[in-house]
Symmetry: C2
Amino acid sequence: MVTHTPTNGHAGEQDVDLTSSALNHRIAEQAANGTNGANGHHANGHAAAPAELDASKLTIRRADPAARAVPDEATACSGNETICTDHMITCAWDASRGWAAPELKPYGPLSLMPTASVLHYATECFEGLKAYRGFDGKLRLFRPDLNAKRMLMSTLRISLPGFNPKQVERLISTLVAVDGPKWLPADRPGSFLYLRPAMIGTQPQLGVQAPKEALLFITASFMPRMDSMPGGLKLHTSPEDMVRAWVGGFGYAKVGANYGPSLLATNEARARGFGQILWLYGPEGYCTEAGASNFFVVWRARDADGGKLQLVTAPLDDRLILDGVTRRSIVELARERLAGELEMVERKYTIDELLDADREGRLVEAFAAGTAYFICPVSLVHHRGKDVQIPLGKGDSGQYTAKIKGLMGDIMYGNEQHPWGVVASMD
Amino acid sequence: MVTHTPTNGHAGEQDVDLTSSALNHRIAEQAANGTNGANGHHANGHAAAPAELDASKLTIRRADPAARAVPDEATACSGNETICTDHMITCAWDASRGWAAPELKPYGPLSLMPTASVLHYATECFEGLKAYRGFDGKLRLFRPDLNAKRMLMSTLRISLPGFNPKQVERLISTLVAVDGPKWLPADRPGSFLYLRPAMIGTQPQLGVQAPKEALLFITASFMPRMDSMPGGLKLHTSPEDMVRAWVGGFGYAKVGANYGPSLLATNEARARGFGQILWLYGPEGYCTEAGASNFFVVWRARDADGGKLQLVTAPLDDRLILDGVTRRSIVELARERLAGELEMVERKYTIDELLDADREGRLVEAFAAGTAYFICPVSLVHHRGKDVQIPLGKGDSGQYTAKIKGLMGDIMYGNEQHPWGVVASMD
């Protein structure tokens, strides 16, 4: 028997966007009063509210600085293990007490019960950003506010607790201020450390439910340079039986669940001599991401379409792709500084459009863009048995790719003083 | 420029099913020679092959049996923490050496580096099955071979190492043989423990890649009975902006990435008074799973369609849903033993068909089926502002639901001697 349900008090229309309305509601709540909003609503003003994440409560326990030496650049990334700096920051949360005082302490293992939520249900998310040793000697972060805000969105999407993003930004900056001077030495200008804030569900409970305990942790480590592969990055389009993300899914959030499932196809592509998968979407074959990076193409529009030189990348509005900080910065810089040379276009485009542009001699350049790969020239796209060769006009890069990379790098490494380059400090 | 690629040596057709061909290839390889096939191919007969998973190498370090008491049934599941038995089994793997000797040892925390793959990229999968204390006093597993085989499929899908499923089955059985006598006491016939084999990527490496180190672990714990909720289980259909699994995804594999992302919608539904989400798929609104369980409906077909009583559940062929052991057993039992009463139908069906059946008085029963929920009567489906009330003819259950539950339970608890009920032993 069908009945309308006044008891639930929700109109039918509200049923169709349960998720995004929940998410928007919680992000707004977070911004308004900073409550730990992920796991249920607590009454404001009643009982003791769970504690907020507060970077000013940080406790510091220093490692012996003589215990570990900084590896040279050649060996820093040569092993099977990521080398982290002397310290990490951790901060525990539980649903009743809220956030404990964050701790800066010697880098070392975490202890998790075998029943911990993260080990079974992928209640995890992360961020990736870098600390840059400037040519002026300063240690900078690049737009860390965007990473901290995106992390909040990811944590809420994966049912982990909320926090004030500014506090995470402060913790990141503090870790860099403490470990940067030793691990990113002043005699290595133009180099970087990789920063990895992450949050995991730690409640030892096998019920499939939002965890009532969580841990935020931040590490700093070496990471290889991946922005200048000899011969450029070669991409293999995704197979028809493998979809990375989908409308209604979580492709826009930096949650672990987007990564593990993609490794199988990536490994197969690598075994065939390619660097990453170019993820296509839907029967139309929309180009979305290149590996775990955003993807940009430079082409000349057809004469009938105005014939302009365009820098094209997939849009954010269907929430299939990550709102990359590098992506966003490129889009903004291109509009601000390259408008006389090319038109910045965010729109859906298909692999067939890429093939057409190639066949018609309109394909100019392509690159992957993200924190790990920075801006990495793409030299080839393999699709269904065919190779599209993409010009590297300057030998190892297209000219527009190089120009954009230069603009970004100048901000990161302090050649240009810019609000996006934030000097690390302990506040 | 487009060129065909003899260098890669793959025809275009092979590009469209990269994933499933890789997966099938590796499962076949595993079956043929039992190699650790997940992370690259090693030459058979050359160099030292990585060691196979071998249950006969198990080492045993016993906990002090007096250290922990078995809680009574009322309190065993009342806290926020899952209570595990005295022991767990762990087994470490790395890509060069293969599987180490499995260890049965006291239950306790795992130590993971903050950079461990599982904490960032959801390189994790699990199984769920139960140990049953029979009315004849024996400890049984229910079709553990199916869980072990499915676990192999899940591990390969998520780029974790392969193993011989028979060895995992032996390890599970051993843990039950060791801890069952104390933790599933003979004076509690008709009760169960929950078994959780899991595998995680442990390599401390932040590169997005298949882990070269992994850990298999198995725990046994208490879990609440969830098969007889007062008033039946109430389902809320999934919102349009939330898709659990998709064609080309990994909905069929028991990987963490299917669970964490679903918690947000589940929490919202619970806040509105529902027990689980009924996951719909596509613009047609195909019914797929109920929470993390399979979903069955009993209805009478329209007269024009033969008018038969049918037990309907979603099919496996589009790989959207989990190939549940409970689901498969119900399908097989219904065909074997209930053919005179109802027709077992595996096919796609939509929420509109469910609504039609209700409106036309043809809807008879519905239930969720899985290891955790066992066979759980569904009393209501809420869809877009409307409630479909589903009869519970016997008060707390429909009659066919109760009959199927009885058949299954008799095998699990030894009232019927059946090959699916496997007595636990140390071999």
